[in-house]
Symmetry: C2
């Protein structure tokens, strides 16, 4: 029996294209054997409230009707084949109002209609997942037969039972007699080294069930979630095939026989979702683990892909970045340039103010020359002066201190968006995770943008990624951008580390706080200074209001800011 | 037996004050009988990820320890009394890491420790509620005995079983023999007419159980959720007592005997959460129901309260509003003024541009005179000109069209925040729900602010509320502000209704779309023009990116924008 794994890449709700692609794939002459498509292939994922929108589900139900008509009348095949396709099953009342929705696997064969053969049992409902909000569950897992082979069916989370789940679908499958194959239809979000996690779990499940396992994942970028694909097949002992990352792909593999792993492989259960957030800390919790070469490669691919996805889905072909002469904006511009496709346009704007150094200008200029990106220099001194004068005249007070700092940042935000209004370019945000965590960015100022590429990377990781890019593309980012001390240049002689901590120390402290798992007491015992903890934790706790108004962040870590990070703005802050 | 209902008002995580207030209440000489406190009284609600934060729960567990010590050693009473107190029960491992959390009722009596007597069974997990993410559930409901009386225990959602819940706690209670009382400890968010819903349900539950029911709700404003209090007692036939709204309050009532309601009262089950969102439409779905006098009163109280709560919890005592001479900002200023307390300060800024009419100036001036609010007029023409000139010089192109419109709005956003930086005043946002729905506001421009007071009120409701205020405070808002055609005044002769629909029609169409329950086909059948539907639905679907970066909105409807509204930015839009 042939296994055909279809690692697909579709926009949410793009029903016409989904119909076209599915019917075309199944009519290919080589189509025979078992075809497996990702979880919710027929709709896309995650849908959030779209699940509930009558317009959305009526259009989806038209797709189901069209597929049924096609399958009964036009879908013919000389070979026996079976497709397993992720989709939704709706139960409606007489007025077509919603009673129930399930996340299911449809079986499709030539000449028949779509038929539900499995319903998702474990609904992830932690961090940014909220499937219990929308979907009803099944009580038992399903096995089907095809060409005399018994195939166990799992949908994504079904293979990741934790103690939070009363029933383990894998355990249920194990009680249904020997399987010839287990398939998992997934829409599994990417984070660093996620493939390793999936593979490890796949070996556990395959050896527990004594069955090969085929894992099919979707590809895409949805607001902040990356789907990396990387579908694969294991026989229990070896990885037999693996699809590409961040690309539509297709694997064809003959059904393998189960091979026991050489090592004794247990079948573990993760304890709870909070402890699943593996931190990026070294064992002593005092240093952030550096991004490895492989991780840098993955992150770069993911960031380029997400930017292109955002542009494609918003019908944009232009990008704009506000350069400061510093590290973050330089890295963002380099990533955007590396992602650039034919007929796309990227431009940079450098907006020096009273406190910008000439070095910043030189470095912004050098960077754009290296990248072949058009740079416009737009000095803001004159406007800044006019604002200062008008402010003094109208409010009878001088703009000073933070007021004078923030107005520069907000003026730049307004100007970059003016250019965006004129050209239709997407403004790419340049904030990093360290800044976001302590609120060291100006709301409506340098925090503006359609999409944040670096919002899940600490400052020290930003440097690592920049060095990685320079190792692949020598001299792309001027070395001095990487080595000069970070500064917002909003007042004289401003240096980030004067008001914060040295970045390596800051980033480790933040990762401890953001994992939720390290208490202040433990931090003190680890050697962090109480005053530093108090200061940084205070900044973190008091800056929720800024993060609430921040743009979507490309998620590349188990625990990120964004939709899955939920902390009240209004609360009594906890003190050391 | 005396019933003591404590309608409390505390900040999330304000453990010191919670300890002080609880111990003080229980030591009052009149304290005797049954004391009931709200759901999660000991922590506040909703906690979101705070539940998971080690710092948070270790501090909370200190509170529990302190209360136990106090109750055993210091809590003495001549009278027999029992307190039922909402809190969390944590189960930790040896390293104090989180294994399990439950939303519980603690019983407390003089000389004893806190003891869990009930665990919440129904965890709301729809719209902005996500308790299944954090809490474990109990399998059965609990009854306790006190002074020979049997008391059934419910926590908030426990009395609102829908078909989504397999087990109905009220049904379970009904099987445990006759009750003398049923208590519900709630943290129940406010929306229009929510008290009527609660009362109706309370009569259903009381008559089903043949028991009086005491309902205790908390008071507060948490980011966007209002808790209105309005605790009450019913005997089955009548409302015996009702506490104040949006205020800490206390009810003391002798335990009543159950009285059957005069009407035959069924025990209904809501069908699903989506259909619980009662729309604000008339039966023909073509007109928005107008806010009644009582609703206007409630909304005004709620908005004033939320603004004061936000200020108190962020330690602000100053407010600032950008006036345009139009309806929205005038209403916001009036509400802020009506909420103002001693030692607080409110100021307004009018920032006329090239296209602002002199009428706008006159009206802004009249409004501030009426309200006794200091008005600063800050013309932006000069800065706008400088920006235009600099933009032309640097980009070799004139600022025109949308670019020139948006820069004015963003400049105003930057200036109001400059003033806020200088004085520490909270910027109150002035957008309404109609604008938010179609994206008719400028990101980082007129959409800025710490808190949106009107973001859950359609434009037609904004007018209704303004007229209500004028009926209570004659002449407060100049009549012409209410009668002049709405305009953003960002270009010559701009009128909102030229680019949209007349507001009454627009608002009804939006409510149909935002309830998710009306399909395009149904809208056409109702008589809406396909081109209008296409246009408005398109604007709505394409403006998700703006709403994602919007500030918190005070929630006053069953379905609001904000945390409970979740639609992907990146998706294929559904067409008519």
């Amino acid at each position: 029996m042939q296994l055909n794994l279809h690692q697909t890449h579709h926009e949410i709700g793009d029903f016409e294209v989904i119909f076209k692609d599915l019917t075309e794939i199944l009519q290919r002459p080589e189509a025979q054997g078992l075809h497996v498509f990702p979880e919710l292939f027929l709709t896309g994922y995650p849908l959030q409230d779209l699940v509930l929108q009558k317009n959305f589900y009526l259009e989806y139900l038209n797709l189901i009707d069209d597929l049924n008509i096609w399958a009964k009348k036009q879908y013919k095949s000389a070979n026996e084949n079976l497709s397993l396709i992720g989709g939704l099953r709706y139960t409606l009342d007489d007025a077509q109002n919603l009673l129930k929705v399930e996340n299911v696997i449809y079986a499709l064969q030539p000449g028949t209609e779509l038929k539900v053969v499995a319903v998702k049992q474990l609904l992830p409902n932690y961090d940014l997942y909220e499937e219990k909000k929308y979907f009803s569950v099944a009580a038992d897992s399903a096995v089907i037969e095809f060409q005399g082979k018994k195939i166990g069916l799992l949908i994504c989370e079904d293979m990741w039972a934790s103690h939070l789940h009363e029933n383990d679908p894998v355990l249920q499958l194990s009680k249904k007699g020997p399987l010839d194959l287990c398939v998992n239809l997934s829409a599994s979000p990417y984070h660093l080294q996620k493939f390793d996690d999936r593979l490890k779990r796949a070996f556990e499940v395959a050896n527990f069930l004594k069955s090969p396992l085929a894992y099919v994942n979707r590809v895409g970028f949805e607001d902040e979630i990356l789907f990396d694909g990387q579908s694969f097949v294991v026989d229990g002992k070896s990885l037999l095939a693996k699809a590409d990352s961040f690309k539509k792909d297709y694997l064809q593999v003959a059904l393998p026989k189960f091979q026991a792993h050489e090592a004794a492989i247990g079948y573990t259960k993760p304890v709870s979702w909070i402890t699943q957030f593996t931190t990026r800390l070294t064992n002593d919790k005092k240093t952030l683990k550096n991004l490895s070469e492989q991780e840098c490669f993955e992150v770069l691919e993911g960031l380029k892909f997400s930017l292109q996805e955002y542009a494609k889905k918003t019908h944009s072909s232009k990008f704009i970045v506000a350069l400061s002469g510093g590290m973050d904006s330089a890295l963002v511009l380099a990533i955007a340039k590396l992602s650039l496709q034919k007929n796309q346009n990227l431009e940079a704007v450098f907006m020096p103010g009273f406190f910008s150094s000439s070095t910043s200008y030189d470095l912004a200029h050098d960077l754009c020359r290296n990248l072949g990106v058009k740079l416009t220099t737009f000095p803001i001194k004159f406007i800044h002066s006019t604002i200062r004068n008008n402010y003094r005249d109208n409010f009878q007070v001088e703009m000073t201190g933070l007021t004078d700092e923030n107005i520069q940042s907000r003026l730049r935000g307004a100007l970059i968006y003016a250019r965006s209004n004129e050209t239709g370019a997407l403004v790419i945000n340049t904030s990093n995770k360290s800044e976001l965590a302590v609120g060291y960015s100006t709301l409506y100022g340098d925090s503006v943008g359609a999409l944040s590429l670096l919002g899940d990377l600490y400052k020290t990781e930003v440097f690592t990624l920049a060095r990685f890019i320079n190792s692949k593309y020598p001299g792309m980012i001027p070395e001095e951008i990487i080595t000069r001390p970070p500064s917002a240049e909003l007042r004289d002689n401003q240096k980030d580390e004067d008001s914060l901590l040295p970045y390596p120390e800051l980033d480790a402290l933040l990762e401890n706080l953001l994992s939720y798992q390290t208490s202040f007491k433990e931090l003190v015992n680890l050697g962090y200074k109480p005053l530093d903890i108090e200061k940084i934790a205070g900044l973190w706790q008091r800056s929720e209001y800024k993060r609430k108004q921040f743009c979507p962040i490309v998620k590349i870590k188990p625990k990120s800011f964004g939709f899955g990070y939920r902390n009240p703005i209004l609360k009594k802050n906890v003190h050391v």
